[in-house]
Symmetry: C2
Subunit: 358 residues, 2 copies
């Protein structure tokens, strides 16, 4: 008999639930329901699945069955109202839905009130629907959700670490500091030395402070001064236009911004001054928003691996549901610097000039 | 006793479910569950609601109770994978979640496969979870979903009309033709006459053809020629850069694009030619994406009333659930032209020139 591990036929090994699902043209979850809760299925679907089960001689594992029947297969997720929403979280939600689907789960949305997540939405959802757990996003300093859910024994995973106090529960986050650190490295390799950071207001956002920290540590590693090279702005293009001025006045040849929105403010101020982003001052954004690519010049930006974040969130949540008392798992994923035309080497005269001259 | 209709006290009239919810600090849906399905609530919440009910002397209406108990309070919605997703549909989902929440419903997401919605996702969701109905988006020509759901008696509402064959079921749509018509009107009022349309490929999208149609009818109304003034492109910035060239070569003083993405291609081609959007050629986009506002010059664009679409979708769906056999309701909502710096009057020399000269 020839070896054919890749192309295992029905006779080549026991049929799996996934094989039955493919044969019946339904999802694995539907096969599971046909076995565990047949009254949930419409008769024609049930018949189709039963036919596939018989044809393939499938025998469900008892343990898997027991585990499955207690589950609603629903994951709760709070969605912010439109003005507060971010393209990053929208893309994360798509990735999360896909990852959940792949695992036989669905996302149950509830609207978070404007001004940030509160516990009420979680409490209401727990009262009204059975969910197996929650995925949290937009975690911030003093976020009450993790402790509240942990106290109630509700499984959850955060997209975003705890930014204050002790860490609670599982989370997946992106190493923002590593992203701005990599941006400094790239700019230094091109010859930039006067590299400024345009961030959010200090202390206003854990993620924002983290991004500032990566810039600062990389500058120090290269012996470059950070004093007078950091400006703060709210995440608003007009505020950023004003905030970036002292950095440019002080002769920065490159600006790393905590968001693409802030980078756009930098673009506008440069244009007002008759200067060109890229040619005159290098600009790097954060989040690689859809806008970054279509700007002229295209904006270099630090991209978060959102598909991977979505997959890992679902993986950690399902692991937590299966083993409520296991040790917490926390993942810090690497972002990647997308280099585009907004980043070039500085004018040779600028690069030669000493920092002390300014 | 003073008149105080605005500030009705507990003694001023019968307590409502909403008043009980406020007193108990929970959502109206939770109060409803406390009455209809008390075992769904955690004991402390149930107690809090019961205390509020007693304190306020609330008496639930029997009819409302019966109606509520048969419902899962879940609305299914298929979400596209990331590359195919659009900012418009993301904003719609936020609006839909909020509108559903306001009505005591939740959105249950499932991932649509790349390449467009299929029936499998709907079938799986119906098999696995109880949903009261679906909201469809991304409706296209030959869309099989409406007929499939209608045949099975599953309530649904489309964000988007049927673009071919007979209309099935309820829908809410935005009158795209009215939006491009308004754009022509505005440009004509500024003195433009050579107004071109940069659209998607003819027949590739119902919404795209609708937007072209509005431009065409307004041009005809003003006796302006449309021949040679229409170009087609896929929804890609690079393709649009090429597609817009013959329109500019033929002397268009204004370009209306079927999307902001196409308008951006027009921006780039103008810049390559040393011309400025706004100053040299007026440009109008469609969808008022977040990018439109932050471009330089800011892009005028036709905005869809997505909050209103979300609210109306929920309203029509709940009406359908309550009265499965009622006559279908279809709403065409008006978009609005957001005028920004990319739209100015043409050079007087251009405006004076006859169309025949070109």
């Amino acid at each position: 008999m020839p070896r054919s591990s890749k192309n295992s036929s029905a006779k080549g090994g026991p049929a799996t639930l996934a094989m039955v699902a493919r044969r019946a043209g339904v999802s694995p979850q539907t096969v599971s329901n046909a076995i565990n809760s047949p009254d949930m299925l419409r008769p024609e679907t049930l018949e189709r699945v039963h036919r596939a089960i018989n044809e393939m001689g499938y025998r469900p594992s008892r343990a898997a069955q027991t585990l499955r029947t207690r589950s609603s297969k629903l994951i709760g997720y709070g969605i912010q109202p439109t003005p507060a929403s971010s393209p990053v979280l929208d893309r994360f939600l798509h990735a999360l839905s896909q990852a959940a689907d792949d695992a036989g789960y669905r996302i149950l949305l509830f609207a978070s009130p404007p001004g940030g997540p509160t516990l009420q939405g979680y409490e209401d959802l727990l009262d009204q629907h059975e969910v197996d757990g929650f995925v949290l996003s937009g975690t911030e300093r003093g976020d009450p959700r993790q402790a509240w859910l942990a106290k109630r024994g509700v499984p959850f995973v955060g997209f975003g670490r705890m930014w204050s106090g002790r860490q609670i529960g599982d989370w997946v986050d992106v190493d923002g500091a590593s992203g701005t650190d990599a941006a400094v490295e790239h700019l230094v390799s091109l010859g930039h030395r006067r590299i400024a950071f345009l961030g959010w207001e200090r202390g206003s956002s854990g993620a924002g402070d983290d991004r500032a920290e990566g810039w600062q540590r990389a500058m120090r590693r290269h012996g470059l001064p950070t004093r007078g090279r950091r400006a703060q702005s709210v995440n608003d293009i007009d505020a950023a236009r004003t905030a970036v001025k002292p950095l440019l006045d002080a002769g920065a040849t490159a600006v790393i911004a905590a968001s693409d929105m802030l980078a756009l403010g930098c673009y506008q101020t440069l244009r007002e001054r008759g200067a060109a982003p890229g040619r005159d001052v290098a600009v790097v954004g954060f989040d690689d928003s859809p806008t970054a690519e279509i700007l002229s010049p295209a904006l270099a930006s630090v991209a978060q691996p959102l598909e991977e974040v979505g997959r890992q969130c679902v993986r950690l949540l399902l692991a937590r549901i299966a083993a409520p008392d296991a040790a917490p798992e926390r993942l810090l994923l690497e972002p990647s610097l997308i280099v585009r035309d907004s980043v070039r080497a500085p004018d040779s005269s600028d690069a030669a000039e000493s920092d002390l001259a300014k």
